[in-house]
Each structure stands twice: as structure tokens, then as C-alpha cells.
């Protein structure tokens, strides 16, 4: 570790300083877990804003201020179970959700492979995860164009503001995750990971599971509840 010890008087001996714990979590894994903690708090801030606005939204119906959500002008736009949207375009939000959830399993399949030292399966699984992540992003972009076509944007009221802000920041995190997956796949192809040394793989997989979980919560809150 500290090769500077070679230039010291022999009597001084080698300095024992720690660079990583003998057992327990590797540094990249612990660092990623802590970073995810802060990311949870970031999304908590966005969700807090969403719930606060949603709870406070009232409209005058028959002369009485009534709590409604979504706002009347946006009712019916987000029905995940219909095959087409109001304008007749294909509604692909459920397929996008299924792809993202499945990608977490594929990612974990790759992690289990590298834990056994199976580099071939590992690279294949991570590459597939990457492709699924990109597919999710493309489907989300498609979803955005459909919504904008139907007249919902960031500036068309609270529904649009909250919808695009929450899903947009989630999309940015998916984008970050796919870049990390690409780096892992690239390094994996170069044979830089093996059964003993693959902390980065574990860390990136944790991040990918995190963006997946955020989407499950987001989907439930925006579309189902």
C-alpha cells in the first residue's frame, strides 16, 4: 500500500494504516448506500411538494370549494390501464413500468453471475439491463410527447408542474444509471471484474434498484392512488 515505506529507515517498519475494512462493506458500496440516502431525501422533498399541492388543491364545484385531484381539466389523462390515450395514441406507460421492474431482476442476475466469477453471463446481463434502461427512457420520451400533444406541459397548471418535475427528475436518475451500467459493461468486457473484486458492480446495481423503487412509488402515487 504505502510504498513510501521503502524510503524510510528500516527500523521504522511498515505503517499500518487501513485502506478498506478487512470485512464488511466495500468502500464503493458503503459510499453508494450513503449517496442513495441523500437521494431518498431529495425525492422526499419533491414528494412532499407533490402531496402538499395535491392536498391543498380545491376547485369550486356547484358553488362549493371542493378538494379534487387530479384537477378537472386533467381528469382522465392518466389511466394506465387503457390501451390508448384520449387523443387515440398508444398508451405505453405500463409496458415501460414492466420493463424497468424486470431490468432490476436482470441486473441482479448479472450481479449473481459475477459473484460466481461468470464473466460472460455478467456482461450479457448488464448489457441487457442497459438496453432495458434506454428502452424505458425512450418510452418515457414518447409518453411526454403524447401528454404535450394533449396539452399538458410544465406550465399548464399544477398537475403538469408536478407530473413533469417528478417523472423528469426520475428520468434523469435513470439516465445517470444507464451511464453507470454502460461503464460497468465496458469494464466487464475488458475483464476488470472477478468474483473477488467487483465492488463497483455491487454499487451500481444498488443504484439501479433504487431508481426502480423510486419509479414504483412514483407510478403508484401518480397513476394509482
Amino acid at each position: 500500500m504505502s510504498a513510501d515505506a521503502t524510503v524510510l529507515p528500516a527500523a521504522a517498519g511498515r505503517v499500518k494504516t487501513a485502506s478498506h475494512p478487512a470485512r464488511g462493506l466495500g468502500n464503493p458500496v458503503l459510499g453508494m448506500l450513503l449517496f442513495i440516502t441523500s437521494e431518498v431525501m431529495f425525492f422526499a422533498g419533491l414528494f412532499a411538494a407533490y402531496f402538499s399541492i395535491r392536498a391543498g388543491h380545491t376547485e369550486v364545484i356547484n358553488g362549493v370549494a371542493t378538494h379534487v385531484w387530479p384537477p378537472t381539466q386533467d381528469v382522465g389523462i392518466l389511466n394506465p390501464w387503457r390501451l390508448t390515450t384520449e387523443s387515440g395514441a398508444l398508451n405505453l406507460i405500463v409496458p415501460a413500468t414492466v420493463i424497468l421492474i424486470l431490468s432490476s431482476f436482470v441486473c441482479q442476475w448479472g450481479v449473481l453471475a459475477i459473484r460466481r466469477g461468470d464473466q460472460r453471463t455478467f456482461v450479457r446481463a448488464i448489457s441487457l439491463t442497459f438496453v432495458m434502461g434506454v428502452a424505458f427512457l425512450l418510452l418515457q420520451a414518447y409518453d411526454y410527447t403524447v401528454l404535450m400533444h394533449e396539452g399538458v406541459t410544465l406550465s399548464t397548471g399544477l398537475f403538469g408542474s408536478t407530473y413533469f418535475t417528478l417523472t423528469g427528475f426520475h428520468g434523469l436518475h435513470v439516465l445517470g444509471g444507464t451511464l453507470m451500467l454502460a461503464a460497468v459493461a465496458y469494464r466487464g468486457r475488458a475483464g476488470q471484474f472477478n468474483a473477488r473484486r467487483h465492488d463497483m458492480v455491487e454499487a451500481v446495481s444498488l443504484y439501479w434498484h433504487f431508481v426502480d423503487v423510486v419509479w414504483i412509488v412514483l407510478f403508484s402515487v401518480l397513476y394509482l392512488v
Binding site: E39, F42, L158
Partner: protein
């Protein structure tokens, strides 16, 4: 650092390039400290301008619009780009040494944190160069004042970006500190042998991790409101301006503990050394820090009592409770000094000054935690006096204690004691002259954030006294700058342990080598350097050579590592 030395010298680099590209935690720490003092100098000059404007009724130097920009940038720089980064600078420079590590867990991430912070500060200040001027919505950036309607200029956007950058920098730094403390402690350095300063860095990092993302989210939504027609904080669209206050203070109140806990750590390092005693109640001190941090997550709405939308009894009770662990710390420092053999060095004087001044600020904080008083004092100079009382009397005093204490370790040179004592005296006096009259002003109802006030309300004299105090503080800084300049002109001559100290950073040379330690003493207690010094002295006495002075250092102990 896993470089392999094969006897081939690294290609020589210019010292400028070395500083710009370094990943060495000590250099990054020094850059943090120096940049933080740079921002403090700018923020301090702005403060002098503010005080000069308020010295007498009428407008003398700046108009109201410029005044708004000045107090906004003053607050932002002092809190987010001085007080916080100074603590992070100490944590960078000292904490890895205290746990016997060779560097941080992620050295390159550490460099990234520094550069994000530096450019964040420069971006906030660059608002002065835009046509509309810098941000003028106060350091709290309350909606709807910060909306595009009331703050149309680019200065507000630069403020958003700059603050967001320092927020990200803080989160990355916190992750780095926590992993370093978890993974890079030297053999024998158990959690309950870690010095108090390291403990406070760990607890503060946890707070950063939970608090900072809240402001990042709020800033993102504010930016969307301003530029993409969002309606989060816009009541005309059904948004909620009080939401901004919640998100801001959910960051902002833990932030003020982020700004004080590491400095409590510094006091806990300095007081035992110059009292000649171990820290009184070490475990209770650790628990008190954790208690303060835990409680601080549940007090944010005491800034929002007068919105009428918060649960007054709960937030009042939580705020009052924080006085308990803080009191434990104050009394433990006094108990550490009790019957010790005190040495009144400059770092120790700053600690004693803190005990007086910070305690006054803490008491006025307890007063403000009571809603009836808060309703009267909200947005008056009483609040201004309180926050400067704790931030100068706590953060800045302890920051100076840390500078005088660790300057020999980081540079190998000692700051002049005489100049340091003048610096200390002028600041203790200047502090009282500046801020005690502001309590009076607040009690008389003078609102904060006004550029002018009518004559004949009894506000003239306290304002004038306060301005004189601010000038004393400015003059009082000059001996410090002179001491630094003079010290840096001298050769590095300090031994490893010039103070007769306790913790591990004093076991290596001053300044430490790039890899920090050529040898580590055995770590069998809270005070490994003290243990080694005692062992060496016992050995000398056994040989009949008599005791050595406190500055003999552990080098005399031989290769017991």
C-alpha cells in the same frame, strides 16, 4: 494512495499545477480553509458597508435595492461559503490524521467537492456583474419574493445555481467523510477512541446527508417556477409559498447545527490540551452531539411560528430541548478546565471567549423558541443579534481557535502569540459592542433588512454603537492577517507536537508528509500521543535523566510503533 515508488522521481510539477490538481486531503483542506476565509473577507466587507449605511438615519452610501443585494449575498456567503466550508476544511485537513489514515476514502471525489464549492461561491457573487444585480431575496430566498415576478434578474438564477452546487458538494463531502471514518481508521482506533472532532465530523456528515437534498429539491422547483412556468410556490396557480419555507428550513435548521457541531468538536480538542486534563465526560459528549443532531431534524418550523400554519407546542418543545445537550457540552468543557493546569494560549483564549459569548447567544435562542416572544421578535434585530451571537460567538470563535491550534500542524509554523492575543481581545470587545446594541434595537422593534430608518425613535444611538463595533471587528482582523503573513515568511520549524497534545495528528511531523505517517504510535486509549509521551518520560526517569518539556514530542520515544 497506491503509487509504487521504484526509486524514480515523479516528473516535477509546478506548485500551481500541484495545487490545482491535488487529491491530497491536507492540501484540499488548506484550500477549503483559505477559500472560506476569502469568502469571509468579501462577506465581511459587505457587512461593514451594511453597518456604515445604518450608522445614522438617511441614505448615505447605498440605495435600498443595492442594500437588499448586499445583505442577501452577505448571508449566503457567510453561512454557506464560509462557516460550512471552513468546518469541511478542518475536517479534510485534520480528521484523516486523527484516525491515522493515509488519505480520504475517495480522494478524487474530495477534489471535486472542493471545486464545486469554490465555483458555487463565485457563481453567487457573479450576480453583481449582471444588469439586475445580485440576488436580493435574502439568504432564505423566500417565495414569492424569489419568483420571476419579484426577482426577475439573472442574479437570482445565479444564486440558485451557486447554492445548488455547494449543496451537492456538501453531500459528496459527507459521503466521503463517513466512508473514511468507517473504513480507514488505523488498527486500534475503535469508535470510542476517536477524538471528539472526528465524532462531530461523522455526526455532521449524517446531518448533511439528510438536510442538504431538501434545499436542492426546493431550488429545482424554484427554478422550474421561474423558467418553465411551474406553479409550486405560486399561490395564483394554486401553489403554496409556505411550502418553500418548509423545504428551506428543513435544510436550514439542521444547517445551523452543521455550522456549529464541528466547531464544538474543535473546542473539545483544544480545551483538554491546555487544561492538562482528559476531556470530561467523553462518552456523554458523544451522546450530546448525537442528541443535538437528532433533535435538530425536528425543529425547523420554529422559523415559521408566525405563519400560523405550524404546530407551536411541538416545535417549541423540541427547540427548548436542544438546550439540554448543548448545556451538557458547555458544562463538560468547564469541568474539563476545573482544577486543571491551564495554559492561556491563543487557542485556549478563543475557547474561553466562546464559553461566555456563545452561552449568551444560546440563551437568546431559548427565548426565541418560546412562541409568545417569537411573535414579537420575528424579523426584528433581536433575531439578527441572536444569530450573529451564536455564529460569531460559536462558529467564528471556535474557527479561530482551530486556526491557531492547527496552524503549526498544517504549515510547520506558529502564529505569533502577541498578535493573536490582540486579535482575540479586539474581537471579544468588538463582538459585544456590535451585537449587544442590536438586542436593544430588536426589543425596540427595529425590523431587519431595512436600508434606512426614521430618526427619533431611539434607534440612532444603538445603531451608531453597533457600527463602531463592526469597525472594531474589522480592525481586529488585521493582527490575524499580519500574524499569518509573518509566520509564512519564516521557515517551518515546529516540532511534531508543539502543544503537548493528545490526539493522533500530533504524532506525525509538522507539516505531515504526503502519506501522513511514517510511523503510528500504538492506539490504546483516547489519547495515544499523550500515552506515548508519558511512556517516554517514565523511561527517561527510570534512566535518571529527569523529565523533558512538553514539546519533546513522541520522536524521543523510539520505534514503539
Amino acid at each position: 494512495m497506491s503509487s509504487i515508488n521504484l526509486g524514480i522521481a515523479a516528473p516535477p510539477r509546478t506548485s500551481l499545477l500541484e495545487w490545482l490538481t491535488t487529491t491530497d486531503h491536507k492540501k484540499i483542506g488548506v484550500m477549503y480553509i483559505a477559500s472560506a476565509f476569502g469568502f469571509a473577507a468579501i462577506g465581511g466587507l459587505i457587512a461593514e458597508l451594511i453597518r456604515l449605511e445604518l450608522a445614522a438615519p438617511g441614505q448615505q452610501f447605498v440605495n435600498a435595492a443595492t442594500y437588499d443585494q448586499l445583505f442577501t449575498v452577505h448571508g449566503t456567503l457567510m453561512l454557506l461559503f464560509f462557516a460550512g466550508p471552513l468546518a469541511i476544511g478542518f475536517a479534510n485537513a485534520i480528521m484523516p490524521l486523527q484516525i491515522g489514515a493515509a488519505d480520504m476514502a475517495f480522494p478524487r471525489l474530495n477534489a471535486l467537492s472542493y471545486w464545486l464549492f469554490l465555483f458555487g461561491g463565485l457563481i453567487v457573487m457573479s450576480g453583481f456583474l449582471t444588469t439586475g444585480g445580485a440576488a436580493a431575496a435574502g439568504w432564505t430566498g423566500y417565495a414569492p419574493l424569489s419568483s420571476s415576478t419579484f426577482s426577475p434578474g439573472a442574479g437570482m438564477d445565479l444564486w440558485i445555481v451557486g447554492v445548488a452546487l455547494v449543496g451537492v458538494s456538501g453531500v459528496l463531502g459527507a459521503v466521503n467523510f463517513m466512508v473514511t471514518i468507517y473504513a480507514r481508521r488505523a488498527p486500534g482506533m475503535h469508535m470510542f477512541r476517536m477524538p471528539m472532532f472526528t465524532w462531530t465530523v461523522l455526526v455532521t456528515s449524517t446531518l448533511i446527508l439528510f438536510a442538504f437534498p431538501s434545499i436542492t429539491a426546493a431550488l429545482a422547483m424554484l427554478f422550474i417556477d421561474r423558467h418553465f412556468g411551474g406553479g409550486f410556490f405560486d399561490p395564483t396557480q394554486g401553489g403554496n409559498p409556505v411550502l418553500w419555507q418548509h423545504l428551506f428550513w428543513f435544510f436550514g435548521h439542521p444547517e445551523v447545527y452543521i455550522l456549529i457541531l464541528p466547531y464544538f468538536g474543535i473546542i473539545s480538542e483544544v480545551v483538554p490540551v491546555f487544561s492538562g486534563k482528559p476531556l470530561f465526560g467523553y462518552r456523554f459528549m458523544v451522546l450530546a452531539v448525537i442528541a443535538i443532531a437528532s433533535l435538530s431534524m425536528g425543529v425547523w418550523a420554529h422559523h415559521m411560528f408566525t405563519t400560523g400554519q405550524v404546530d407551536l407546542p411541538f416545535f417549541s418543545l423540541m427547540s427548548l430541548l436542544i438546550a439540554v445537550p448543548t448545556g451538557i457540552k458547555i458544562f463538560n468543557w468547564i469541568a474539563t478546565m476545573w482544577r486543571g493546569s491551564l495554559r492561556f494560549t491563543v487557542p485556549m483564549l478563543w475557547c474561553i471567549g466562546l464559553l461566555y459569548v456563545f452561552t449568551i447567544g444560546g440563551i437568546s435562542g431559548v427565548m426565541l423558541a418560546s412562541p409568545p416572544i417569537d411573535y414579537m421578535a420575528q424579523d426584528t434585530y433581536f433575531v439578527v443579534a441572536h444569530l450573529h451571537n451564536v455564529l460569531i460567538g460559536g462558529t467564528v470563535f471556535a474557527g479561530f481557535a482551530g486556526i491557531y491550534f492547527w496552524f503549526p500542524k498544517l504549515t510547520g509554523r506558529r502564529l505569533d502569540e502577541g498578535l493573536g492575543k490582540i486579535h482575540w481581545l479586539l474581537w471579544v470587545v468588538g463582538f459585544a459592542v456590535t451585537f449587544i446594541p442590536q438586542y436593544v434595537l430588536g426589543a425596540e422593534g427595529m425590523p431587519r433588512r431595512i436600508a434606512d430608518y426614521p430618526a427619533g425613535r431611539g434607534w440612532d444611538l444603538p445603531n451608531l454603537i453597533s457600527t463602531i463595533g463592526a469597525l472594531i471587528l474589522a480592525v481586529g482582523t488585521l493582527p490575524f492577517l499580519l500574524a499569518v503573513w509573518r509566520a509564512m515568511r519564516r521557515p517551518a520549524d515546529q516540532p511534531a507536537d508543539p502543544w503537548g497534545a493528545n490526539s493522533l495528528e500530533w504524532a506525525t511531523s509538522s507539516p505531515p508528509p504526503h502519506h501522513n505517517f511514517d510511523r503510528l504510535p500504538p492506539i490504546r486509549s483516547l489519547r495515544p500521543v499523550f500515552d506515548e509521551r508519558m511512556a517516554a518520560e517514565a523511561e527517561r526517569r527510570a534512566r535518571g535523566e529527569g523529565a523533558a518539556g512538553p514539546t519533546a514530542g513522541p520522536a524521543a520515544a523510539g520505534g514503539t510503533g
